[in-house]
């Protein structure tokens, strides 16, 4: 089941990083336990006393064609290198802020930059009654951009009214101004934030 773009925009996806970390942890746990079990002699006391680098293994390896083994080892090493670098840079890269491309025709391309879009929607959102603060950014793929609004509401604000205002004024206006039919939006609401007080 694919989630709609607005639900995907709610928070940064961390699925790949989490799964890779989980699988690594699982493998490490299984390997460590297997070695412990082997060392405790559950697979035979005699087997537990054999060296870690077993002569049987080295003899089996020595009987193979050395060229094949070397090529396999080098290819595996390079594959690990590429995979590890991909993994590392994927985890490190910041979340994308795509621009909104309204017109892709050759010669008359029209792009609204992420900064301009967020600033406009943020100003509109902060004008809604009951909103104390708002943060807006664009998220998602460049082909399917979405907006993420983080909205802080004053204590005792009626949620449904704020939603109506947000949808009727802010989002409708953004859609009309941009001339798009749909604009996926994710809203993160912080309720009952204490109002800012000035110290006199």
């Amino acid at each position: 089941m694919s989630r709609p773009a607005s639900a995907k925009a709610l928070a940064r996806s961390q699925g790949t990083e989490r799964s890779l970390t989980f699988v690594t942890g699982l493998l490490a746990l299984l390997a460590g336990s297997a070695v412990l079990v082997l060392g405790a002699g559950w697979f035979g006391t005699y087997r537990a006393r054999r060296p870690v680098l077993d002569p049987a293994v080295t003899e089996w390896l020595a009987a193979r064609e050395p060229v094949v083994l070397r090529v396999v080892a080098i290819v595996a090493g390079l594959a690990l290198l590429v995979f590890g670098l991909w993994w590392c840079f994927r985890s490190l890269r910041p979340e994308a802020k795509p621009d909104l491309r309204l017109d892709r025709t050759e010669g008359r391309a029209l792009t609204v930059t992420a900064g301009a879009l967020s600033a406009a929607v943020q100003a509109d959102t902060e004008a809604v009654d009951g909103v104390t603060k708002a943060k807006v950014r664009s998220v998602g793929d460049p082909g399917e951009p979405a907006l993420r609004l983080q909205v802080w509401l004053r204590e005792g604000t009626d949620l449904r009214r704020v939603w109506r205002d947000l949808d009727a004024e802010v989002l409708a206006r953004a859609r009309t101004a941009l001339g798009v039919e749909t604009l996926p939006v994710a809203v993160r609401i912080e309720l009952g934030a204490s109002p800012r007080r000035r110290v006199r």
Binding site: S6, A28, A76, G77, V187
Partner: protein, 178 residues
Amino acid sequence: MRVLVRLLSTLLGLAVAGAGALLALEVAWHWWRPADVPLVAPWPAWRDALANTGWDSFSVRVAAVAVAVSGLVLLLASAVARRRDVRLTDPATDVSVTTSPRSLARVVGTHVRAQDNVTSASVTASARKVRVRASSTFESEEQLRPRLTESVTGLIADLPLVRRPKISVVVDSPRDRR
């Protein structure tokens, strides 16, 4: 926790890349110039050490325990790094709304503290459960609890939450201790 998983993931990726580079480099170097090994990692020394160490030796067991424990830490860290946001109903198509468990707890806490005869209250909330601990000097648990449960239920019902959390109220009162 989500930052921790991102950090661990980066380090693991770096470690895998480093191990792969070392493997490819050492094998290629051994192939090209068998007389000049090792290039970076002292693997002939490792090989000799491993050939003289049994599976039941102390150092192998210590290493196995260390690997298993770090694996468990990785498992736990990635398991607790899930999102805890509370979903609200979508006000329109193409709009999704969430709030944080903290702000849900804040709303309930403000509401409970504003009730009569509540001296203090603490609230923890998640998408599934809202737990209120209130203390009262003047009313016993039997008197206050139904009233608080009802009013918190009403408050939660007013919020457009996707799933109704269970509500549990505990009242701590000196009147019950007599």
